[in-house]
């Protein structure tokens, strides 16, 4: 015990195989007792899927061929049965494919199994494991070791789900066998494999952030599952309402790009239509065109980088905000540029409008049920309202991340007083987020206005809402956001969050009750709904739409929306002013 201190040389962040945290989980999560049963289950499952899928598809096609022969026989005997045959052929395209095609069919269930292992089980493990580490106090031990925060992040990112990675690799040979026997070239499946990997990293990062933020293991697990569901199923739906970049948080676009080269064209076409994504055309971004692969890498890479910064900051200092003020300005600027750059080319050629999906669907028998037509004001309205609502949600999330806790702010102010400064440095976590939130709100309003003007200036509308767009949108966003921020910074605790839920949802739910209860009170319902900032965002977009030939009742509603758009933001502005005055008082009190 009398030795001199050891020369400390912590392991490098990038040598994962030497990362102590990765090795720690390698030991604990790869013990035979835990690993072998899972390994048996998934290898058997993968083997079953690999063996049965080609045979099942072949049997299925053979059955359809038999049915086709039968229907042809019937049609030859009875011309009335010809229609049945035609419908059958149009919907099912019966055909016996080559052996390679049937081998490729095994890719689908195998991909499903691998996605289940890494997307769901892996992410849940990362979120739950991270919370357990914090519960057990191991995070503080780790924080005190001299390995770099980035090495800690990577150690947990790949260490916590190490068993899931092993299970994934154990099912890999079946996938490789399916690709090899299906004669799928590497150039075809390589991009999908790459995006599968980046998607896994993205989802595991969501788990890591959830595990870092949430104190309860159960909540972290549930939140990460909810986030995957949101990212995979719900968020991409936003691409149907003018935000096509949201589709690229999934691996679907790249899969759709590769699918025609792997699977029979007819079902691929159906998948593409159902997912409103025809692969292969690339992605327009301002005046550039990227492949689906590159654009997915850009989108996922930007989200991965943001989450890396979040967990890195938390590892560096436990009481840091998830994002610094500077980073959030950058992130928000990117969140404004990304949808605009992605949307503008689609506005020019009309592919961005919701009607476009219907037109695509029209080319299929299923689509015959839908009316065709050009983009109409209601499509523009849907897109602009959705954009505004998304901006509002982004801003609320950023306000929550940036607003300093009372303790932290008091410390910052007192430190500044001790150092004879007026306040803490502007971009420090403990300084007020007021100015940054104001800039973010103005940025959000500007990008929303840019989007709205671009949509309305499209050849189908030729409307010019003028410079008022920014002012109206800022008038809608600023009172709600600044009021929320001031309340959160002044009071802290749960009340501001309850206010968000209450003011966001209750007016809308009440208006729905009112509208359902009586046919005569839609104006009242519209006015009541306007108390919700979410509805105000929708009303803001509505006020600029080039409506033509409205019926009298609709004109009345339109007028009510305009009143609501003046009254409610005005009330919010007064409330925000009161909160801001109160906030200034809090600053003074906290300083002393």
């Amino acid at each position: 015990m009398t030795e001199t201190p050891t020369a400390v040389k912590p392991p490098s962040a990038w040598r994962l195989w030497e990362n102590p945290i990765f090795l720690r989980y390698g030991r604990s999560r790869l013990r035979k007792r835990g690993l072998v049963p899972s390994l048996i289950i998934f290898v058997v499952l993968a083997a079953f899927a690999y063996l049965i899928t080609p045979m099942a598809f072949r049997r299925f096609d053979e059955g359809r061929m038999q049915l086709k022969a039968y229907l042809e026989e019937q049609a030859a005997k009875n011309p009335a049965a010809k229609r049945r045959l035609d419908t059958f052929l149009e919907f099912t395209h019966p055909k016996i494919h080559s052996d390679q095609v049937y081998q490729r069919m095994a890719i689908i269930p195998l991909l499903g199994i691998q996605a289940l292992i890494l997307f769901l089980m892996g992410t849940g493990q990362v979120a739950g494991g991270m919370t357990t580490e914090r519960d057990e106090g191991m995070v503080d031990y780790q924080r005190l070791t001299p390995i770099s925060p980035i090495a800690k992040v990577l150690g947990y990112l790949f260490g916590l789900p190490v068993r899931e990675w092993v299970l994934f690799f154990a099912t890999g040979p079946f996938m490789l066998l399916a690709l090899w026997r299906g004669e799928v070239p590497v150039s075809t499946w390589g991009p999908s494999a790459l995006i599968f990997f980046t998607s896994v990293i993205l989802y595991h990062f969501t788990g890591l952030v959830a595990g870092t933020v949430f104190k309860s293991r159960r909540w972290a697990f549930l939140l990460s599952m909810a986030l995957i569901f949101l990212l995979y199923f719900l968020v991409p739906q936003g691409s149907r309402f003018g935000l096509p970049f949201l589709r690229y948080v999934t691996m679907w676009p790249v899969l759709m790009e590769a699918a025609p080269h792997i699977f029979p064209p007819e079902p691929v076409r159906d998948w593409q239509i159902m997912s409103a994504h025809i692969g292969g055309a690339g992605v327009d971004f301002f005046d550039s065109n990227f492949s689906d692969l590159v654009f997915t890498l850009i989108v996922q890479g930007s989200f991965i980088l943001t989450m890396l910064v979040m967990v890195w900051r938390k590892w560096r200092q436990a009481d840091s905000h998830l994002l610094s003020k500077g980073w959030s300005l950058l992130v928000f600027a990117w969140l404004c540029i990304l949808p605009i750059g992605n949307a503008l080319p689609g506005i020019r050629d009309g592919s961005l409008f919701p009607v476009h999906d219907m037109r695509t669907l029209m080319r299929t028998p299923l689509g015959a049920a839908f009316p065709t037509g050009e983009p109409r004001p209601e499509h523009a309205f849907q897109m602009c309202a959705f954009y505004g609502a998304v901006m509002l949600i982004f801003l609320i999330l950023l306000v929550i991340m940036l607003t300093p806790a009372q303790d932290s702010q008091a410390r910052g102010l007192r430190r500044a007083a001790k150092l004879k400064r007026r306040s803490a440095p502007l971009f420090a976590d403990e300084s007020s987020a007021f100015l940054v939130v104001l800039i973010l709100t103005a940025g959000g309003a500007a990008s929303w206005a840019w989007f709205t003007r671009s949509v309305l200036q499209a050849k189908w509308f030729h409307a010019d809402p003028g410079g008022d767009t920014f002012l109206v949108y800022f008038g809608v966003l600023a009172p709600a956001i600044m009021g929320f921020h001031a309340l959160l910074e002044a009071r802290g605790g749960k009340w501001p969050f309850l206010a968000v839920v209450f003011l966001g949802a209750v007016p809308i739910l009440t208006s729905l009750v009112l509208a359902t209860a009586s046919r005569d009170v839609p104006s009242t319902a519209v006015m009541v709904a306007g108390a919700s900032p979410l509805a105000q965002a929708v009303y803001g977009a509505e006020s600029f739409m080039p409506w033509h030939g409205l019926r009298a009742s609709t004109v009345q509603l339109h007028d009510t929306i305009r009143y609501a758009l003046v009254i409610w933001p005005a009330i919010y502005a007064i409330a925000a002013a009161v909160f801001i005055v109160a906030l200034r008082r809090h600053w003074k009190r906290r300083r002393s």
Partner: protein, 317 residues
Amino acid sequence: MSAAAIEIRDLRVDYGNFVAVNDISLSVPAGEVCGLVGPNGAGKTSTFKVLTTLMHPTYGEVRLCDMDLFVRPEAAREVLGYMPDFAPVPSDLQLWEFLDLFAHSHGIGSPAQRSDRIAQCLEEVHLTDKRNAWCRELSRGQTQRLVLAKTLLHRPRVMVLDEPASGMDPLSRRDLRLTLRKLAASGVAIIVSSHILSELADMCTSLCVMNQGRILAAGPVDEVREKLGNTDRTLTITVLPDTAALAQEVLAQLTAGRELTRHGNAFSFRFHGSGEEQAALLSTLLNAGIKVRAFEEQKSSFEDILVQVAEANRSSR
């Protein structure tokens, strides 16, 4: 040995309007074991959190081995060993795996070197026979010893120990004392908090008494006792039976106005005079022909001092 390994200057920690640590300054030289004591809410844990880089203070300067904690936290962590109160261990690792994780995290060489170092540390805390046991199977005291072993792994130059002896049996406590003394002798600066104050006094070369975020007294143990103004002690004089009556008479005169208690031939009373006065008292008894068999002095314990401090806090509220 004289350079301060831990240097705290004007440290303040606020939680909203509550001042947990109020402009304290403290310096612990290398080779010293400093006990941080105080009632609940005195500011000990907040001070430890700042010292271990787990928390940013409102303001103040902290240097560990001449490194600014807030400028170079990563470098400071290389020389710092921290053992928290209720030290946790992971349930899914064996003892050696747990220690290997931290030995590796601290960059201790090859697997063979790590294995040697782990063996040394397990030996130090008498857990060698438990090397392959699961961490979850350890008792509270064994867990504390394991975490102490973890804290020793990278041979820190500054150790921060929060209630290190809690849950340990008397033998382990004695071992802990010996280990700390050995570490201090090798030049490690140790700051330790404990609720078992008598033990802390045995273990430490200096004490720092905190109350309501401030330092009441800091320095060598006896000096701190004096600084806290409590020189009261209980004197117990045991005499031979044939002079007991005389002793009763003389002591009643000498302790006029104070409570004198007699248990057989032993007399006890509170005394707060100087050392000279105490020596004079003994001479008076001997000159009076009293056959003194034993003359014992019992100083007020640190528990008593802290109870007084805590009671003063309570009454001031």
